[in-house]
């Protein structure tokens, strides 16, 4: 499908959303109306990334991010429902499913008759997936028996297919192997729990699942048994990519609302937009929104280079989730008191954006991970000479850390890795923005991002005060 087909699809999505999607009602009712889900299915959105052979549209990652962004501009719960289905929910099945597995599941998933979910978070395994306790062991009858609990399963309330990560000791010759299992929630022993009550994304379904002696046939294992950890890396890349695309939609919606407001709102005899402080804030917001979009596009373009996709989607997830929340907060601030009132929809944008800094890898964990990657496998330096100063600053930070800590011991310095990770993420956003900039305005936005990225790269990572003393005093209850 080329852009000549995607553009009309985006128009159809916008027209449908204008007529049928009511974000405040979805938020108040804690669910997306059935007719909205049917409408999305009729538009073919649940099959957007699925192969044409099974009834999907076979969209590329670059095309799919535009679909998710368009949905998120209208309502983040709707975008999350569709994005989760297309990314985490079905990516494993598309990439490693056997023909029989695909034949059974992909046609109903493409039509929207079935919705997919992904179950990996556990009570003791959030961002640390090495702590998975959900266990699948061979039973005497030749099946696997699955035990354990999964939390915060997006689309859990109505999903017809769960991709479940489980520890499968010994399977595939891996003593501590992990496998991905395709589970029908109607299977005996699977107990779907009640809908969670949340701060935001209230229209998006979130439930827990308890698996008690669930008989899983061997043909429900996705790909090679015991290789789930390596599959997971790719599935999570897609999850982060589409989440980031949703953040771009939120940022656009927040910025559009802010711009509309500052044009007509007058204070001190002038429109807000004429105030210099407001202009500076809006210029920075515009640059961040452009950087978010550029980074997501750059990541999506790496669809077939899985290592690069993983690296860039990590940067995109952190940069875009922070950017979307910051822009929603700015929009609320510029709206003044009216922004705090739910009816304007700005508070909803901010509440919906908040969780994106947490799920699909908490940002602090991803920042540390980005720092470790930069220490152990530095990214390839781009040829664009205008970026050499920024890349050198990040490389200098990396080299100083390695020299001070004497090689691999640098990895024990978590706070320094975290700071290096933040420098990497800003560098990646500024690089993507610079590489894609074509117009003078885009180049100006990219230059603004490069300036800020350089400041981040050169910021000290050691606190000027003994923070451990303050923490100890707080824990002992003697301060403040």
């Amino acid at each position: 499908m080329n852009d000549a087909v995607v553009e009309p699809l985006l128009e159809s999505i916008r027209a449908f959303a204008r007529r049928h999607v009511r974000p405040l009602e979805i938020d108040q009712q804690h669910s997306i109306p059935r007719e909205v889900l049917w409408g999305l299915a009729e538009l073919g959105l649940f099959g957007a990334t699925l192969p044409r052979e099974w009834g999907g549209a076979g969209l590329s990652a670059l095309q799919t991010i535009r679909v998710v962004t368009a949905l998120a501009e209208v309502d983040r719960s709707v975008a999350t429902t569709v994005g989760l289905h297309l990314g985490l929910g079905t990516r494993g099945l598309v990439a490693w499913g056997t023909r029989a597995q695909q034949e059974r599941w992909l046609p109903p998933l493409a039509s929207g008759e079935a919705i997919a979910a992904f179950a990996t978070t556990e009570p003791n395994a959030g961002s640390d997936l090495s702590a998975l306790q959900c266990l699948a062991q061979p039973a005497p009858d030749g099946t696997l028996q699955l035990f354990g609990t999964k939390l915060y399963v997006t689309n859990g309330g109505f999903a017809s297919l769960l991709t479940v990560t489980a520890s499968t000791p010994g399977m595939g010759g891996a003593e501590r192997g992990t496998s991905l299992l395709l589970i029908d929630p109607k299977t005996p022993g699977v107990a779907r729990q009640r809908e969670e009550r949340k701060l935001g994304l209230r229209g998006s379904s979130t439930t827990a699942f308890i698996f008690d002696q669930v008989a899983v046939p061997n043909d429900a294992v996705l790909g090679e048994p015991g290789q789930g950890a390596s599959y997971l890396a790719h599935v999570l890349s897609w999850g982060r990519l589409l989440l980031s695309a949703g953040c771009v939609g939120t940022a656009r919606a927040a910025l559009d609302a802010a711009l509309a407001h500052v044009h007509h709102r007058r204070q001190f005899h002038r429109a807000l937009v004429q105030q210099e402080v407001v202009q500076r804030a809006l210029a920075r917001a515009g640059a961040i929104a452009y950087g978010m979009e550029a980074l997501v596009r750059t990541a999506a373009a790496a669809e077939h280079d899985w290592d690069l996709l993983s690296r860039l989607t990590t940067s995109a997830k952190v940069f875009c989730s922070e950017g979307a929340f910051e822009l929603a907060d700015l929009s609320l601030q510029l709206h003044g008191g009216s922004g705090f009132i739910e009816d304007t929809g700005i508070a909803l944008l901010m509440r919906d954006a908040r969780v994106t800094r947490i799920f699909e890898g908490a940002n602090d964990v991803l920042l540390t991970h980005a720092g470790v990657l930069e220490l152990t496998q530095p990214a390839a330096v781009p040829t664009d000479a205008s970026l050499s100063g920024l890349w050198s600053a990040v490389a200098l930070r990396r080299n100083v850390l390695q020299c001070e800590a004497k090689g691999v011991r640098a990895l024990n310095r978590r706070a320094a890795q975290h700071a290096l990770g933040r420098a990497v993420i800003w560098r990646d956003a500024a690089t993507a923005a610079t590489s894609l900039a074509r117009t003078p305005l885009e180049r100006a936005a990219a230059a603004l991002l490069c300036d800020e990225a350089l400041n981040v790269a050169m910021a000290p990572d050691l606190p000027a005060v003994p923070t451990h003393l303050i923490v100890a005093a707080l824990l002992e209850g003697v301060f403040p």
């Binding site: 090495s130 891996a174 003593e175 501590r176 192997g177 992990t178 470790v372």
Partner: protein, 87 residues
């Protein structure tokens, strides 16, 4: 430190990061597939090792280690280098 003591210490450190108990760890185990340590966890293990024994292990060398035996060999090699430098 004898090779046996070094190996036992390394097994204990691996058990701290993995759910596999120290007595069940074997030299032929792979860090990822058998101990469940992803690439970040594996590097963390090697950094803990380098910190405890004050070894200066280059990042590139550490990144090549994928097995328990490789970890032990890396530690032995750098301990020997350290002793030689001291003497």
């Amino acid at each position: 430190m004898t090779d046996d003591l070094l190996t036992q210490r390394i097994f204990s450190m691996m058990a701290e990061l993995s759910t596999v108990r120290a007595p069940d760890i074997r030299l032929e185990h792979r860090l990822r597939e058998d101990l469940g340590l992803d690439s970040v966890c594996s590097m963390e293990l090697l950094s803990m090792l380098a910190e405890e024994f004050e070894l200066d292990v280059p990042m590139e060398e550490a990144a090549q280690v994928t097995t328990v035996a490789g970890t032990v060999a890396m530690a032995q090699r750098h301990l020997a280098l350290k002793e030689r430098a001291v003497s």
